[in-house]
């Protein structure tokens, strides 16, 4: 079948598997899901569907924790030496507030940008704790990551992940063209959970003075190979290296 991939994916799934609604009822342990459980236990495709949903849910929960923590870090830099764990505890205690407060969209603070170079901060959510991740650190499968960029000028930002096998995953945005963002610090809205593939992991943030798409960033990455993407007019690329186990 020609046309968009989602058509082919849906046709490939067929008609005999439980719907996503049924899988969510199973995931959330609603009564009357014994038949669904029996199907999933014998169906590798449905187990993969369940796991894919689980990973997205974990990343979403982590993004809320990290978003709260990034605000706390920004405030703490001035006057509030609150330990990281306590800040996360506050985020947990403020569960309803997390739902009701507007999600982060605006720059955290413009004065957070130093000099004329963009910056990249990576946050990790692991077992209820949120920490900044330093270049070269060891990451675990299941860690959820979120990214903050500091921009001296208006820019479009694309973040890609490259695993040890060379597989490229868009981290932000998930697809399409990244919008222009104003000068200042921005916590990017997407969060992702690391899979179980061990090895080296690279995170690359493309910061460009014109709108950049995920596809353009992937092409630039492919052109550069192991050395990284070639220099491109109007773009800066920041790279972080990690070891995933």
């Amino acid at each position: 079948m020609s046309g968009p991939d989602f058509l082919r994916r849906r046709e490939a799934l067929g008609e005999e598997h439980p719907s996503q609604l049924a899988l969510d009822k199973l995931r959330l342990q609603e009564p009357g899901t014994d038949v669904i459980r029996a199907h999933v236990d014998g169906c590798a495709a449905c187990q993969a569907r369940l796991q894919a949903g689980d990973a997205k849910d974990v990343a979403y929960q982590a993004s809320l924790f990290v978003g709260k923590e990034a605000h706390a870090v920004a405030k703490r830099a001035k006057a509030w030496p609150l330990p990281l764990r306590a800040a996360v505890g506050l985020a947990v205690a403020a569960g309803v507030a997390l739902v009701m407060v507007p999600m982060l969209r605006e720059p955290l603070q413009k004065e957070g940008v130093k000099g004329n170079s963009p910056g990249l901060t990576v946050y990790r959510h692991r077992q209820g704790r949120v920490e900044k991740v330093q270049d070269g650190e060891v990451l675990n499968a299941g860690d959820a990551l979120r990214f903050e960029v500091s921009l001296p000028n208006d820019a479009s930002v694309v973040v890609l992940g490259v695993d040890g096998a060379g597989a490229v995953t868009p981290y932000s945005p998930l697809a399409g063209v990244s919008p222009m963002r104003g000068a200042g610090r921005h916590l990017l809205p997407e969060a992702m959970q690391l899979d179980a593939v061990a090895g080296k992991e690279r995170v690359l943030a493309f910061v460009c003075d014109k709108p950049l798409s995920v596809e353009q960033a992937k092409v630039a990455l492919a052109q550069g190979g192991e050395k990284g993407p070639p220099e491109r007019d109007g773009c800066v690329v920041m790279t972080r290296h990690y070891l995933k186990k």
């Binding site: 968009p4 989602f6 008609e15 598997h17 719907s19 996503q20 309803v96 998930l174 697809a175």
Partner: protein, 164 residues
């Protein structure tokens, strides 16, 4: 509804609503907005929610309604997402991010009577029989509308590829 009750609900179901909204709208930001709107609606009519035999079904429907309304609104505003379709092999582990962006752009363009069926089939991955039963229409009607949606999606993909 008590403070701790809505907190428990949010903790249990918030991710589900967000995942579903992103799958339909193809946008993480809008997904957060949908989560807020759905739970605000639950707060406004807590008894309706409590009486539901299946909270998951209730929240699925609530999220669908909010998302379809947002698609209608965005179409009126003429807002369209960029289309960038990846060419990897088919997988069956749920709607991928690229797919969600593409699907959302097609959903914005198609007539309203195709949208809900397309969401039920491509996002919820319901069978055509399940959709017919849920909407109270003939299976043939479901098949015809899905075919019309497929044609619209293929045309949209063709238009996208023809662009410079």
């Amino acid at each position: 509804m008590q403070h701790d009750e809505i907190e428990v609900l949010y903790r249990k179901y918030g991710a589900l609503v967000h995942r579903r909204a992103v799958a339909i709208l193809g946008d993480v930001h809008e997904g957060h907005d949908v989560v807020q709107e759905v739970f605000v609606n639950v707060l406004r009519a807590p008894d309706t929610f409590r009486q539901e035999a299946s909270p998951v079904t209730y929240l699925y429907n609530a999220a669908t309604n909010v998302c379809l309304r947002r698609l209608r609104d965005s179409r009126r505003r003429g807002a369209l997402l960029e289309r960038h379709v990846s060419k990897e092999e088919p997988r069956t582990d749920g709607l991928r991010a690229e797919d969600a962006v593409t699907l959302a752009s097609v959903l914005r363009d198609v007539p309203e009577d195709l949208r809900e069926i397309a969401v039920l089939y491509f996002v919820d991955e319901m069978s055509q029989d399940e959709i017919a039963e849920r909407l109270g229409v003939a299976r043939r009607t479901v098949g015809n509308r899905l075919e019309a949606f497929r044609e619209a999606a293929q045309k949209a993909a063709g238009d996208s590829h023809e662009r410079p």
